[in-house]
């Protein structure tokens, strides 16, 4: 071990049935759950197979295929790499034009979809990575997307507060929009509806600190939960006069769809909700999970058994696991947690900032003025002769 005092936090944790995949910086590792050992790593780890052909810049998006046969990663230098999970070798690798923000598989093992910083969604076939098939475009960065209605719809979210519901793969056909976020949308999580006729429910999080449940059939808002307010009320009452919206950075659900965990950027706790699709308000707050005020979440994952993995930065622990006991999450002391905290990741001189959404916030539309008088006549503010988006000017109105 080097002298460096910190370890690189996990930027993504992916559940891969018998294994979990941990991504940190340029690297990733495969940890076997049963044996609680690191079996494969792009970094030299004693007893683990070395994975060749890893990224040379930080990994910014990753996904496993539905059958778990393929693993796709993309790095900050706009390289997309497809891995064969049987051997953890590179199957193919290609550059793309714009930085990838999200990767997802639908139901097809051989096709994955990427969203990029230019607002485009593109489909790539694993056996023919030369061809990028454009699916749909947003005007601004697509931050996340998800599949709905048994894979027949694709839901995409962008920096302009917009969530678009399109048919898949006929993406030119728009089925609707979900409007209600006051800031960029950061994360989407699909929940199956209650009963065969019920609509899927979409959960979305944004830079406005809102967790919103939507009826995906109508695009109508079902429930709005302000995580910003929850933080104010529960943990910081009276301490912080200036209320600042938080960025929701991760939303995950248990496979039985009864529990939802939400992480907020730079806040040392995980919010857990019970979920009931048939209820008028499907989300009900259940508990907050925290280790200490130093532990800020960086990644969330829930495996098929309902074990919640939380990656942390800053703190003494890199990872915690929580198991469901009588409907509540309790911290687990499973061997895998010990292994990961002792052996995983790499030591670094400084902990890199994990704040992903700063670039979205800069210049973003944080203001929506419904009272027209407030703006009309204020020609100075409205003079768009300035060609550049002016973050400072927007902020004056916050």
């Amino acid at each position: 071990m080097s002298d460096s005092a910190f370890r690189q936090p996990f930027s993504f944790i992916l559940d891969a049935r018998d294994n979990i995949v941990l991504i940190f910086g340029n690297d990733f590792q495969i940890v076997n759950k049963a044996s609680a050992t690191i079996t494969h790593s792009t970094r030299a780890v004693e007893g683990a197979h070395h994975i060749e052909g890893g990224h040379t810049t930080p990994i910014v998006a990753a996904a496993l295929s539905p059958g778990q046969g393929h693993f796709v990663t993309s790095s900050n230098d706009r390289i997309v790499t497809i891995w064969d999970t049987a051997t953890w070798t590179v199957k193919s690798s290609r550059p793309v034009n714009k930085r990838i923000t999200s990767i997802k598989f639908n139901k097809d093992e051989d096709t994955f979809i990427v969203a990029d910083k230019f607002g485009d969604l593109l489909s790539i076939n694993i056996n023919n990575t030369e061809t990028l098939t454009p699916l749909l475009s947003h005007l601004t960065i697509v931050t996340d997307f998800a599949f709905a209605r048994d894979g027949s719809e694709i839901v995409s979210a962008d920096r302009d507060e917009k969530i678009r519901i399109s048919r898949f793969p006929k993406c030119h056909l728009i089925d609707g929009f979900c409007f209600g976020h006051d800031s960029y949308v950061t994360r989407l999580q699909m929940m199956a509806g209650a009963g065969p006729d019920a609509s899927d429910i979409l959960l979305s999080g944004g830079g406005d600190g809102l967790l919103i449940a939507w009826n995906l059939l109508t695009g109508s808002l079902v429930q709005r939960v302000s995580i910003t307010d929850m933080i104010e009320q529960r943990f910081a009452a009276g301490q912080d006069a200036e209320k600042q919206d938080v960025d929701i950075m991760a939303i995950v659900a248990t496979s039985d769809q009864k529990h939802v965990a939400v992480a907020v950027e730079d806040y040392p706790g995980i919010f857990v909700f019970n979920f009931d699709a048939s209820a008028a308000e499907p989300l009900s707050f259940s508990q907050t999970l925290r280790v200490s005020a130093d532990h800020r979440p960086t990644a969330l994952a829930i495996d098929a058994e309902g074990r919640l993995f939380v990656g942390w930065s800053n703190g003494t622990q890199l990872l915690s696991a929580f198991d469901l006991v009588n409907g509540k999450f309790e911290q687990s002391s499973a061997d895998i947690v010990t292994t990961i905290n002792n052996s995983s990741s790499v030591r670094v001189v400084t902990v890199p900032s994990m704040l992903q959404y700063l670039q979205l916030r800069s210049g973003a539309q944080k203001t929506r003025v419904l009272g027209r008088e407030a703006v009309r006549g204020d020609t100075d503010l409205m003079d768009e002769d300035a060609e550049q988006p002016d973050a400072k000017r927007v902020k004056t109105d916050e």
């Binding site: 749909l136 006929k170 030119h172 728009i174 409007f179």
Partner: protein, 319 residues
């Protein structure tokens, strides 16, 4: 059209209507450069969604203060014609006169230009009210130009917040910004991404009108509309019989500029079709009927002296 309406040809000495009527705004006070960055985060106002939009401010004769329509379940209970990038409002104003049974909205991102159109419509509404016959007033129907309005908006970003699925019957794109540079092609108002949204807000059978004097832009718009699965080309015969075409070609300030410079005007006109996989497709609608000839629709009451003095262009305002 009413014979008693106050039409004063450009160059006429004075308005026939009362001297207290508002003069048309002076365009020189509203000049602004032609380009605007549609990606910039302007301080624009927009509703969360179209169901929350209160149109009273824009069409006070058609929407009550609480936003409910004055004539519910009619063709004037919501905006049906949209002029995207309406510029100085020539088409918006003349379409409203050609089709008094539809609400026409112009959207314009440049603040000074949209303010100008706002002033112009306010003045025209006064003229329209003054010109109404006693019978018209007794009937209680809104007078001329009450069905025209303008909004400062960024349609590229917010179109689908203002209009619901299948709401619009016509969308106009008159002489849009060519954005010549390849890197700026994404800013063009016709693109695959935006065509998805135009198809969404258009009712099946609704028409997209584009016109440009820039051949490369015309080819771009034409080919993207052609390639989009939800649009089909409108036949030549149908185009010839569409009274709106005359206004598309002749109503706007840009069209007059092209005429002055001897430029050509290229049209690309497409119909929104039903996709076989569309969920609950909306039924076809009955097209609007023109209430006058397009030439008549182009004539507007001008308080001539002010308008001529006002205009710093070689040609008097005659939109």
């Amino acid at each position: 059209m009413s014979a008693s309406e106050a039409i004063v040809p450009a160059g006429g000495a004075e308005a026939t209507a009362s001297g207290t009527l508002a003069a048309l705004p002076q365009k020189k006070n509203f000049r602004q450069r032609a380009h605007s960055n549609p990606y910039a985060d302007h301080l624009l106002e927009y509703p969360t969604s179209h169901t929350e939009m209160n149109w009273n401010e824009f069409f006070p004769a058609y929407f009550k203060e609480d936003g409910t329509p004055v004539y519910p379940d009619s063709d004037v209970s919501s905006v049906r014609f949209l002029d995207v990038g309406c510029g100085y409002g020539g088409l918006t104003v003349s379409m409203s006169k050609l089709y008094p049974d539809r609400l026409t909205l112009g959207m314009e991102i440049r603040v000074k230009v949209s303010s100008y159109v706002h002033e112009k419509i306010q003045a025209l509404r006064q003229h329209g009210a003054a010109a109404a016959t006693p019978e018209q007033l007794a009937a209680g129907k809104p007078t001329l130009y009450q069905n025209a309005s303008v909004m400062r908006a960024n349609t590229m970003k917010h179109l689908t917040r203002f209009f619901g699925r299948g709401q619009l019957e016509k969308i106009f794109f008159l002489f849009p910004d060519p954005h010549f540079k390849r890197a700026k092609h994404k800013w063009r108002i016709i693109s695959p991404a935006l065509l998805d949204e135009y198809a969404y807000v258009l009712r099946p059978g609704g028409i997209v009108y584009t016109i440009s004097d820039v051949l490369v832009l015309h080819r771009w718009m034409d080919s993207h509309l052609e390639a989009h699965p939800m649009f089909e080309r409108v036949s030549e015969e149908e185009i010839e019989n569409d009274p709106a075409i005359y206004l598309v070609k002749n109503s706007s300030e840009e069209a007059q500029r092209v005429d002055r410079n001897g430029g050509r005007k290229f049209l690309a006109i497409f119909r929104r079709i039903v996709d076989p996989d569309e969920r609950n497709p909306l039924p076809p609608f009955t097209p609007a009927v023109a209430a006058c000839t397009p030439v008549e629709a182009l004539q507007i009451p001008v308080t001539a002296v002010e308008a001529i003095e006002a205009d710093d262009e070689p040609e008097p305002e005659q939109e």
